[in-house]
Subunit: 195 residues, 2 copies
Amino acid sequence: MRKIILASTSSRRRHLLETLIGKNFEVKPASYMEDNSLFADPVQLVLHHSMEKAKEISRGLEEEVVIACDTVVVVEREILGKPSTEESARSMLKKINNQLVEVVSGLAAIDTKFKKININYEKTQVKIKLLTEKEIDDYIKTGEPIGKAGAFAIQERAAQFIEKINGCYFNVVGLPIYRLNIVLKGLGIYTLDYK
Amino acid sequence: MRKIILASTSSRRRHLLETLIGKNFEVKPASYMEDNSLFADPVQLVLHHSMEKAKEISRGLEEEVVIACDTVVVVEREILGKPSTEESARSMLKKINNQLVEVVSGLAAIDTKFKKININYEKTQVKIKLLTEKEIDDYIKTGEPIGKAGAFAIQERAAQFIEKINGCYFNVVGLPIYRLNIVLKGLGIYTLDYK
């Protein structure tokens, strides 16, 4: 069983990786700062970010497999960041209100022993229902939108705002499990061995 | 704030209802036994089951709002139950392998104070990837398929088997949050008041 390292600070990503391989991995957050202005194409952007994070954590290692992921929310070709204030959360919620938004994740896995790299991405369409001004205000009051890409957390209170999704749900939470399984298989790792 | 009762034994349903209204509800499991042979139409079946559960728990109450839900998995018009043995799990996993299955939930809410009833349903399509014999065997060995409708748990290890979904994710887990919000709104209940 290969030793796996997740290059992420996100407790959601850690939790999702546990559903795939149990607690058989280590967490080493990368210090790399994502810059959403680097590329206009979201796929190119998340692949770049996840690759940079995986490369940083791989440095000096010779045994482990390092996994990194980056997720962005896109509405009408605009990449939405993580709001830090109530005002920016409100403006973002107004942008996604009643829209079909796209959640795009990049995955990078580096096998530091056999010097192999596998990258891939996942896209999920998310239909946000028509929100009233009051619903937007009350959702902001819960504090949940702050620090969340696109100002919503599908696995928390915003669950009630999601009319439907088309694609992988776990991608929207922050780690596309189905795709990650394929990426790891490409490096010779069979996830059901990690029971 | 109206007092809400969830008529369910399922810890997954309890957890999902918490994402909608926090811990502001009580749980009272109904003793009603579901019978999947009652109707061939899954929508009719789950509406009947959820209505029976809600009616049972409502009896004698005059203040509370009672919520009940029933979820089934359908593949090629066959309603799949919950396997109790490894053999029945294997046979079910072979049926859903590489298929587009449909998850159907019925929701019933009874307002025992104002004598109002609201029922509704949700359908989600789930694409199961092509599983190898070894993957089916190894998944059965984890014990996860036993007792799960359709022999898989999307929020656990089977996450990696789900290529994509079309519809509400939470419906597949067992409580369609978006639809429940609408059902409660129909009874004059605004979920964001339950913060």
